[in-house]
Amino acid sequence: MTTAAAAGQPVLQVRDLSVVFPARRGNPAVKAVDRVSFDIAPGQTLGLVGESGSGKTTTGRAILQLQSATAGSVKLLGQELTTMPRGDLRRMRRHMQFVLQNPYSSLHPRMTVARILTEPLQVHHSVAPAQMPDRITQLMELVGLEPDMVQRYPHEFSGGQRQRIVIARALAVHPDFVVCDEPVSALDVRTQAQIVELLRTLQDKLGLSYLFIAHDLALVRQVAHRVAVMYGGQLVELGDAAQVYETPAHPYTRSLLDAVPIPDPARQRAKLAAAPPEPEFDQHKDPLGPCVFGEDHGRTGNSTWHVVCPGHGVSCRFWPPAAF
């Protein structure tokens, strides 16, 4: 654990982060991420939820500096990343790693697991060559794989095992912060549960902080301490998981929560038979976004952040809305 984290500072601090994809071939510019701000505390998980196209993956990529930000600040362990020289950034990458959705495409098919796990150790010079085999054995055990499987190739593993290899690779260099972008959505439901449990165990053991990006709200409920909801590139709600799930303030959050199927036949039948409680949201048709409290609220001006209660905020220009 580093000094900044030890001092109770957030591991990650994101302020007014924006990513604009410029206009191209007659298509207008796209504000993929629009003034997004949040913190992640040491050892905690922020769940970032939203629908496809909401900007959650771009947010993760901009934090990792895999996508350059148009504006805003990203501080990891107190250090500004957006203006950091390349060499420094490369050294900083030891502290931030990622786990992506598809364990079939994120492992090199012609590399053995041993080589896959050795590579980050070499790049970051984090282990002396003599200690490599020990570290690799340790990593395999950490993610629940047999150490003697390291001479195998990715195709010899199941989807869940591959995702364990991806996690081991991310953890090889002792990161403080890991972006998990839909880490289990390509997996079967039982395997999902196992990988989620592994991520949680590793967090407890190693004090990791996660940005957990997912579209599955029920799944995020199982892992997140805090939850951020994205819509049309903007953050529309941010709060402790219990606050956001039990007393959602934004109608879009409510519509997302309502759409999650309930694994209980009688209740799910009743829900499907009833009309959806919120109007349909179309983030692509409403790029100015999150003011969805009523038509009178118009489509111009900047949204404001309203505090519902300490630690729980919602984006809207008019709060509380008259009809709420």
Binding site: H215, A218, R221, L272, P276
Partner: protein
Amino acid sequence: MSASAKPLLQVQRLSAQFTRDAVVSQVVKGISFDIAAGEAVGFVGESGCGKSVTARAMMRLAPEGSSVELGGVVRFDGQDLLQLREADMCDIRGQRIAMVFQDPMTSLNPVLSVGAQIDDIMRRHTGVSRAQARRRTVELLGLVGIRDAARRSEDFPHQFSGGMRQRVLIAMAVSCQPDLLIADEPTTALDVTVQAQILRLLLRLRQELGMALMLITHDFGVIAGMVERVYVMLDGQIVEAGAVDDIFARPQHAYTRALLDAVPRLESAGRLMP
């Protein structure tokens, strides 16, 4: 299903064996089930359990590059589909039994307007005129909730979002008023709000058109509100069958319990694993 309901589909000892690169694999191992007219039945299991192959075997659709050997009886409305000539099978597919797959992009022809694709199916199966087919296509696109249907029917698949494409496929599937709609993971690639819209759409169409539904999914949450009965599949076999409420309330097989326990719930932040 009540005892008096006449089965629309009666499958007995269905087996499917694939040979690919000289490797033989038994993917469906002699399963039996039935679906009554107008009934909704769910097939639940993890990837590789044989649930999709079961549907494809019934329809005699084999993956490319493989040789498939089918066994058993698939009795549909009095005739055994496995014994039909291919030409007769073509009359069943799309017309009496229609399918909707997970990936709406690969199931549509990218260089034809969606309207033309629905027209084609109706003209192939029902022999309606071009003008009649066109009229019916616009009606159908409206029925599945596509606004401005007449204009949108001229658009190509890439001009639709994932959810809208799935609506197009559903419109296409119900265009000939099939007796049975097979939906194989119809909402897996979709956002949760779009999933809810598609599920409501399927329920409504079932009611309006009186068709039976075979819903294949790995997600017990999706199954919960959609079907009357459930078959749970594991390793090419049916390991549990019953009314949906009974399966959720009193799962008998350890595998069914494990699948149900792994479904994350919104209400609790509790651990998924014991």
